[in-house]
Symmetry: C2
Subunit: 258 residues, 2 copies
DNA sequence: ACATTGTGTGCAGCATTCGCACAATAGCCG
DNA sequence: CGGCTATTGTGCGAATGCTGCACACAATGT
């Protein structure tokens, strides 16, 4: 900011404002100005102006001294979802397979070192745990979706991404060693699917398969279910279902523009 | 812009940048810089800086000369959805009722003179038409959701909102006269529900009921279905279902913070 | 080939933004 | 309870970053 000749094609005020908008995540639904300033690494006055601008634009609401997102941010996502025809090409496919498999099916890709959920289908009796939705971030290291995404990258790139991600310990079974995680990802790449057991949530097994897009940033579909009585049979059934789902998405050109 | 003392608490560059982001909607999934400038009413150079900043921040992607939204915008919406626990409190309720009623159920509110879809049941189901998703805008004047939302406003406010909205003619049956539309809204307010027939899409009947939130900006749930053989019976069944759904959402305090 | 529409860049001037410093408020502990 | 500190909200001068014009060039399409 002070020092260098900064790119004159970039509006720094705008970038700072966006940073303000981006600090609102699941962990911190509403924040005070000072907290926003801290999180976005900006001067309080600067953050304040950004936040007030967002309030005026209708993306943020002010309750006393707390600021929180308004539903209008959904409209931004809506532009993306409609542009890519999620409502017609993606959601129905996920729903149908979810119904057949009797588990929820999730479409995801990589974003900023985390797994970004793009779409999700739920069936009524599915066990809902964290309440993730489209737009949620979930961890990279200990989910089948994350591992499968890593598998979709060239291995040195995967290592780089993983190095930047944090590796919390969700359960006893969570692998902690990056090398071990990469090893699992490599295995997933060869197999063409990924299964993780109880690393993110105890007693839950995750399944994921790639939606092949040669040379592009990887996209995957996955499911999770409680460990059943016949793990092998479950795995086979679910993986087969997911693979069908992935093939259908690919064929519908539903993910070509991601 | 030039003359008047503009609010020193508002960052105009940021506001302009946001305007750039907001021009991306369903109708125009990808645009050239010049088009963005036109739509956002900004100088090309200004719009260009805004767009390039968005590219750098990862919200926009540049393919040749076309710019389009990236999946990262979903993350912004994700913050809102998780903050309001849509995944746990809203989606399951919609899904369950949709399953029971065998129609799609949608939660919506008012935003910028249009109907903003907040959430939609993801149950597998028949007639999918436009492929709307959460974050989609649909018209105010000719949908049951829109009319019910108008009904939730004080009547002079409803008139003002409607006056600013455009009233296209989707079908032969679309009412064109604002007064007539307000009349229907008033009727909906008294009845506590709204039914529209073929005004948005031929052969499709829409149903909506309010999720009462005294004194706050209205929120509604609704469905649509092809006209069946027994319109009266269908209406009764669906309205009853929607009312149950609305009651449940209210009770779960799912919409308290909207 | 021409007309049209889109894109990149330099620049000068002034509006805009920065970040400090002060005021006001909340929180804490003896 | 009262005095203390930590945290928050805001006004203001200075300088920086931004705007929008104009020009040159590239890519369409007729």
């Amino acid at each position: 900011m002070t020092v260098s000749e900064q790119d004159r094609n970039i509006s720094s005020s705008f970038a700072k404002g966006l940073a303000v908008l981006a600090v609102f995540d699941a962990a911190t639904p509403s924040m005070t100005l000072a907290e926003i300033a801290r999180r976005s690494g900006q001067d309080r006055a600067t953050a304040r102006r950004g936040a007030l601008t967002l309030v005026q634009a209708g993306y943020l609401r002010q309750d006393g001294r707390m600021l929180s997102l308004t539903p209008r941010v959904l409209a931004l996502a809506g532009g993306f979802l409609q542009a890519n025809q999620f409502g017609r090409k993606v959601q129905p496919v996920l729903n149908r397979h979810a119904r057949q498999m009797e588990v929820e099916v999730t479409l995801a890709m990589l974003d900023q070192g985390r797994v970004l959920l793009l779409a999700q289908s739920t069936v009524e009796h599915s066990h809902i745990t964290y309440g993730f939705t489209a737009g949620s971030h979930i961890p990279l290291a200990h989910t089948s979706l994350g591992r499968m995404l890593l598998a979709g990258l060239p291995s040195e790139e995967a290592a780089a991404v993983l190095a930047d991600a944090d590796i919390p310990r969700h359960t006893e079974q969570s692998l902690q060693d990056p090398a071990a995680i990469l090893e699992r990802a490599a295995q997933a790449r060869e197999q063409g699917f990924c299964i993780t057991g109880s690393e993110f949530e105890a007693g839950i097994t995750g399944y994921a398969v790639p939606v092949a897009r040669p040379g592009r940033t990887p996209v995957v579909v996955g499911s999770s279910a409680p460990r059943g009585l016949h793990p092998e049979a479950d795995a086979e059934r679910l993986l087969r279902g997911l693979q069908l789902c992935a093939a259908e998405l690919r064929q519908a050109e539903a993910v070509d523009h991601l």
